[in-house]
């Protein structure tokens, strides 16, 4: 097996249902190491559910997930498919960073405490080491001066950069961004995009769900348009956003965004 050609992430036939509603409908996807994938699509099309299924925050009914060539998340027990052991699930999540629309910073910890928390508690690193990792990453997202304040005192853009730093402190192999700028005032969007851009330039593999077409166009190697749990179209930004786009629904969606 050629490791270099092996995708970092490979989804086969991922299906997630909420009662009768099928939120993700038999998705197949390969993400290469270092690739930047942007997913767009109308609200309720299953983008968040797909991201959450990847890091096992949602339990899928069908399909397989391979990460670095290993099948993850689910095992066969007496012929029945069930979730893997909690430790194995946590171990996978530790390797995939996730950034949420609403930040979900830990309000009772300082900025430094938030960023240290993963290395300290999950990786059981000594406090001094966790602190130096956190300090370094806070410098990278430009928030060194905020290290000792509580999240309540930060602007939305600063909060999201801390959330990114918190995920990065785990040294993840891949990052998932679920509408990272949708909860921000327009003037704060730029600083978060800049941070993600820096990360992309360093070669981080990432999947980004966003409604900002300009950002998608600039960053993405590949864009996927999702609707009703399915991938409707897939291609380079030029192919999806360009004049050649002839799918009425995608054109309509893009026009509404502009």
């Amino acid at each position: 097996m050629n490791i270099a050609n092996q995708p970092l992430l490979k989804l086969e036939n991922i299906t997630k249902r909420f009662k009768e509603l099928t939120a993700v409908n038999g998705i197949n996807l390969e993400v290469a190491s270092g690739e930047k994938l942007v997913i767009i699509g109308p609200s309720g099309s299953g983008k968040s559910t797909l991201l959450r299924s990847i890091n096992l925050l949602e339990e899928i009914e069908e399909g397989t997930i391979h990460f670095e060539g290993r099948e993850v998340g689910y095992i066969l027990h007496n012929g029945k498919r069930q979730q893997d052991r909690p430790q194995a699930i946590s171990a996978l999540r530790a390797e995939i960073g996730m950034v949420f629309q609403h930040f979900h910073l830990f309000p009772h910890m300082t900025v430094l405490g938030n960023v240290m928390e993963g290395p300290l508690t999950v990786q059981r690193k000594p406090a001094s080491e966790a602190r130096s990792i956190a300090t370094e990453i806070l410098a990278k997202v430009g928030l060194s001066d905020k290290r000792d304040v509580f999240p309540a005192t930060l602007s939305g853009g600063q909060k999201q950069r801390v959330a990114i730093a918190r995920a990065l402190a785990m040294r993840p192999k891949m990052m998932l961004f679920d509408e990272p700028t949708s909860a921000l005032d327009p003037e704060l969007v730029g600083e978060v995009f800049d941070t993600i851009h820096t990360l992309a330039d360093e070669g981080m593999t990432m999947i980004i769900v966003t409604h900002h077409m300009g950002f998608a166009r600039e960053l993405a190697d590949r864009v996927i348009f999702m609707e009703s749990g399915d991938f409707l179209a897939e291609g380079t930004p030029e192919e999806l956003f360009g004049a050649a786009q002839d799918n009425e629904r995608i054109r309509g969606f893009l026009n509404r965004l502009l």
Partner: protein, 327 residues
């Protein structure tokens, strides 16, 4: 010996005959309201000479003393009693009367103060026991409550069912009944516990059940995204609870838990029914011995002091626990 006895008997009979008339007249005057006349008559009883029977003399002077006392002439009342004491220093009736009169001469606050000084050591000992019970329960019940809360939230059915039952039972029956059951009922099952252990178990279980529901509510009130974010960086359920969720409940827990612990201070009074001498029982004992309401007032004051201190402490802790929310 017999002769002596006879002598004494006739002597006293003679005296009684002599002064009977006089006592009756003075009583009549008293009924008519002529106290001065009654006093004048009583004063006619002379001091007995050595060996002579003294009962008429003592009775007349004590009666005079009571009349003076009823007129609030405390000085004169004491003076007539002292006439008796000069001749018979051991006469206990006169002595007690003088002591009581002298007490009346003292200002009111003085009597209250001496009551307080008499009751305080006993009540303080009771209050120490009350505090000991409160602290033991405060130590046991948050842990019990946390276990019950986590159990209720558990996805393992039998665990949540058992915890549901514990809450249902201990919140649904009177604490007094639970205490009786533990102290008086368990011995019939071969388990005999001291009053103190019974009290701590009873209070501990009861308050674990109450705090369990409060803690469960607080955990569930933490925004769901917190658990997701904790899991997303690779935390286990236990780590997320311990590091992220439970610490955020502290501030929300303080007001209801403070209320519960203040109720606890008062609920400890119930353990006086299972032979524990704490503040309530001590006050009750003092009240029944001296029939003095100061004991109860004092106990109320001590309860108020304790609850006030607790209120202040919990307000402080609540503020500190939520300091990260201040912008």
């Amino acid at each position: 010996m017999t002769l002596l006895f006879l002598c004494a008997l006739t002597g006293s009979c003679l005296g009684a005959v002599d002064y009977d008339q006089l006592f009756r007249q003075s009583s009549d005057l008293m009924v008519q309201g002529d106290l001065d006349g009654a006093l004048a008559l009583l004063k006619q009883v002379p001091a007995p000479s050595a060996g002579e029977d003294a009962s008429a003399f003592v009775s007349s002077r004590m009666q005079a003393g009571r009349i003076y006392a009823s007129q609030n002439a405390t000085d004169k009342a004491i003076a007539v009693c002292q006439d008796v004491l000069k001749l018979f220093p051991d006469n206990s009736e006169a002595r007690n009367f003088v002591a009581a009169l002298k007490d009346q001469l003292k200002p009111r606050w003085h009597t209250v103060l001496s009551d307080i000084l008499r009751f305080l050591p006993v009540l303080a000992k009771g209050a120490v026991m009350t505090l000991l019970l409160v602290f033991c329960t405060m130590l046991v019940s948050p842990l019990g409550g946390l276990l019950v809360a986590l159990g209720r939230l558990s996805r393992v059915r039998p665990v949540s069912a058992v915890c549901w039952f514990i809450i249902w039972f201990f919140r649904g029956t009177p604490l007094l009944l639970q205490l009786f059951f533990i102290y008086y009922g368990l011995p019939s099952l071969g388990i005999t516990l001291s009053p103190f252990i019974s009290a701590v178990i009873g209070l501990g279980l009861n308050y674990s059940a109450y705090l369990g529901e409060i803690i469960r509510g607080a955990i569930q009130s933490i925004e769901h995204g917190q658990m997701e974010a904790a899991k997303a960086i690779g935390m286990s359920y236990g780590q997320a609870m311990r590091r992220i969720i439970i610490p955020q409940t502290y501030k929300r827990l303080m007001p209801p838990v403070g209320n519960e612990f203040i109720a606890l201070i008062k609920d400890t009074a119930l353990v006086s029914t299972i032979a524990m001498v704490e503040l309530m029982r001590a006050a009750d004992q003092m009240f029944n011995t001296y029939f003095n309401i100061t004991a109860l007032v004092l106990a109320a004051a001590i309860y108020l002091i304790l609850t006030t201190i607790f209120t202040f402490i919990f307000e402080k802790i609540e503020y500190r626990a939520g300091i990260y929310e201040h912008r």
